[in-house]
Symmetry: C2
Subunit: 548 residues, 2 copies
């Protein structure tokens, strides 16, 4: 069940989000009432159509049969209802067939969807990225043929990046695109881990494929992006086939495909050798969406555990005279309040970031655009890593609330633990998010951007300590590997400091017990990790133990 009261409190009361988006020309007419109506309808759709398919998605899963992928019973009907109701196009431009609403509303929709049914949600999860990519880099001819189909979700899309030997390191990609006489390209190669590479949900599937032109330089600067449809414009089947689907830890509702391209016909998207640039246009939004998946999964786990704790009686809590609800035991309260501290604070940060994506794109003020862009660049990897880590470890903590029942499939909590695990890996592993933050972003500008961002956080000794450590890390250092050793700690410290700021915002907005209890949980059990992380970084800066 979508936590709509919580969500709107954070959007409207804490963040005053409608004022932010209404200051942007495309959303001037989108008032809080309209947004609430959209979210209420989204909540109903998710609860009535998508959530009921969560268990069957896991137990039946996708089947592979001679190149075809059969999705679990009900998945196709739910998807058809989803796109026909206009949900995929929520934040696409009106001229492309979309609803033209702020990105944050789409973000909340996908948070709800992931919590209700992570596997099913993978199918439309890549649509918006494909839409942005095609909109900004596709030729007019390609856009005329594919943009509206992707915007509306009538056709689904994939991102074909990974190959068996090229995962985190896309520079190793070997798939080839060879120019043909008619201006198209013959695409040849094999791609792995392709979510939704083949399925029965839509009539066509549009693959965006990273590959090399014949004369391309080696490495990441020789990659081009190609659009390869499953069904050709003339209705014929293109030469792209699914060779198998993977058996996985979870996410059984989403087919993870090995795709083979055998002289498949494709068209170049954007400039030759600039394929990665074409993909980077959507990276912040995609990573933010993964962070929101984490929030949605953690909320779902919390709801299950909280409901169980309010029904199950075992042993007397301290001071009780009779067998207590387990919700009254400190160990259980601690688990539940800690997860709420992460979810509530995380929503403030994630929704704020989604708003900043729109500000960066649509603000009429260049300085405001630059500040928003800085926030998105620095905070997105933090949210992706911290909230997918927490989705898994927090869902496991919620499983613990169930005792032995948590390990049993019928209670549904163990599925959330299994499903959530993948989000720590895809869209860039969490270790790569940490390197992206510290090495590629903080160090790249000598810490200027991060220190400016921190200066906008509430004043505290911890904030000053993080500024000091940031300055020490950007200073010339005898060990060029040092940032790589402490990147994880740095990302965690940033996450915890931003959460501290988020909780200050919440507490300044409401003193109701609903918000007071997780605010205390944050201070008591979550924030102390900040000091530990800084101690680890400082020890390394001081030349402490080095495992290299």
């Amino acid at each position: 069940m979508a936590a709509l009261d919580d969500i709107t409190f954070i959007l409207n009361d804490v963040l005053q989000a409608p004022a932010t988006w209404q200051a942007l020309p495309p959303f001037a007419d989108t008032d809080a009432d309209l947004a609430l109506q959209v979210l209420e309808e989204a909540g109903k759709f998710v609860a009535s159509v998508v959530a009921p398919l969560q268990r069957i998605g896991d137990t039946v899963g996708c089947r592979f049969d001679a190149g075809q992928v059969i999705t679990p019973p009900g998945f196709k009907a739910a998807y058809q209802a989803f796109w026909q109701a206009g949900w995929p196009s929520l934040s696409c431009a009106v001229e492309d067939g979309g609803q033209g609403l702020p990105a944050v509303l789409e973000g909340v929709l996908f948070e709800m969807l992931a919590g209700a049914n992570h596997g099913w949600t993978m199918a439309p999860g890549l649509l918006h990225g494909a839409y942005e990519c095609l909109k900004h880099h596709g030729s007019d001819a390609l856009k005329a043929r594919y943009l509206e189909k992707i915007a509306t979700g009538e056709w689904l899309a994939t991102m074909c990046l990974t190959e068996a030997h090229a995962g985190s390191d896309l520079g190793l990609v070997r798939t080839k695109g060879t120019p043909q006489a008619d201006g198209s390209y013959a695409v040849n190669g094999s791609k792995t881990f392709i979510s939704g590479g083949e399925h029965d949900l839509t009539d066509n599937i549009v693959h965006l494929v990273l590959a090399r032109l014949p004369d391309a330089p080696a490495g990441p600067k020789g990659l081009s992006l190609f659009l390869v449809p499953k069904i050709m414009p003339n209705g014929a089947r293109n030469a792209v086939v699914c060779e198998r689907i993977e058996e996985k830890m979870g996410l059984h509702g989403s087919p993870t495909c090995v795709m083979r391209f055998d002289d498949a016909t494709g068209w170049l998207v954007g400039e030759a050798n600039k394929g990665l640039n074409a993909m980077f246009v959507m990276m912040n939004a995609a990573r933010l969406h993964v962070g929101l998946q984490g929030l949605g999964l953690l909320e779902a786990a919390w709801q299950k555990a909280s409901a169980y704790a309010a029904e199950r009686r075992q042993m007397r809590a301290p001071g009780a005279r009779e067998t207590s609800l387990i919700a009254d035991h400190p160990a259980i309260q601690r688990i539940l309040a800690t997860q709420r501290a992460w979810i509530d604070g995380g929503r403030v940060l994630a929704y704020h970031t989604a708003l900043q994506l729109d500000v960066a794109k649509h603000s009429t003020d260049a300085a405001q655009r630059a500040t928003a862009q800085r926030w998105c660049a620095l905070v997105t990897p933090v949210l992706k890593a911290a909230f997918t880590d927490q989705a898994f470890s927090g869902a496991s903590a919620c499983l613990q609330v169930f005792g032995g029942h948590g390990y049993i499939s019928e209670w549904g909590i163990e599925q959330i633990v299994r499903d959530s695990r993948v989000a720590m890996i895809y869209e860039g592993t969490n270790e790569i998010q940490a390197i992206d933050l510290l090495v590629r972003k903080v160090l790249a500008d000598g810490g200027t951007g991060m220190c400016a961002l921190l200066a906008e956080q509430p004043a505290s000794a911890r904030r000053d300590a993080l500024v000091e450590v940031t300055q020490a890390l950007v200073s010339p250092n005898s060990d060029p590997a040092l940032p790589y050793w402490v990147a994880d700690d740095y990302l965690r410290a940033v996450a915890l400091l931003l959460l501290d700021g988020a909780w200050a915002q919440i507490s300044a907005t409401s003193t109701a017990p609903r918000w007071h209890s997780p605010a205390q949980a944050f201070q008591t059990w979550v924030l102390p990790e900040f000091d530990m992380r800084l101690a680890i970084i400082r020890q390394r800066l001081a030349g402490g133990p080095n495992n290299a």
Copy 2:
């Protein structure tokens, strides 16, 4: 593959275990060579017979068919080979048909078994506890009929404790035992989460069942223990049936049964209403075994991740000119070295504890027995909780080393994550271990035992801080719930301090790089949590945020 060199280094060089056990009368003739021979043979058996069945145990799993449980292909033959080779009886007394070897050797055997195939290992995992229970509490008649069968493992045994409404709180058990004219009891009730309640591995299954006599007082002091065999002495089937087996997150090779007793015939074990006492005789050994499962699973995860990291190339490590092995990337080295720090240090503590179990039982010196008993009582819950937590979180960290492949079943690492999760729950949840440590043990004697134990650890500021915090916790306090709020932190602090001591022992024994690198990893990345835990406890002692 069993890490035999590591294991014998810790047993022989760090702990000088043979000297310890040879000082005990029953093991005077068990020299280091004999022990090594036993462990070498154990390693061979585990690798050749048990490990190859790990995947099929997960993929095929146990099947339920009209009251029968069919274990995965190969499981029965492996079990028959296992007991016929004498492995279950390794540390049973010679007069009961056992090998009469020290408990620590059986501990290492089960560590190896759990790492190779956790699901299969569940079957013999409860045997030794049942043996001890029957040996110390069974009547001569019962012992004559069942003790040797259980000691040798020709028949397997179960512990029937949990009921649907009575998990952590056994005082709520409702199953009844009604005296019959012939001195037997009619047992009636339903038990859940019974590992190996039904299977095809052995000709008979011996259930040890917690139930109430008709006139028993309510609560835990009204529980009696009954032996209920699947097959009666006259060859007839007893009235105990498996109603279903559970679908679980993992551990598919072990059937988790709902068992119904319908006027089943049983015999009282030990005194009426003293059923829990009869079970407590084996609690320390059983919990230590669960901690050793954690070590075995973490070792298995580490071996897989380490092998993968030494083969897979992605991106350049800092300073490298070509694409590097991922083993050369700091983020990967950190994950692997951190797990080694837990495993190596954990072995020192777990093997030492297994030795102390024998010292407590067999030493001719009463003071030595008391000290050993104190160590086992205080350290066993710490090992159980800390090493099952680490098995799960550490196996997940090892999964991360594989990137996307980690989520795919064929690599085997995700199975370890799923299998290991249950060990945080069974044999007392880890939250209950923490309460056992702080409330039932440390507070119960005013901190005397724990402070004496800490006084034997290497001197350090952290040790002094933990003593100080212990004294503050046992002091009269205005909030009786306080220990329950900080029990988890206290257990973690004790675990980390003991690991620090274990690493001091290792480092004093060898300065080889094999041990130096994880020693540094422990100081750099593991030990800082100690300070965080103490800060959390101190904040609460100072009257900090209270969520109650």
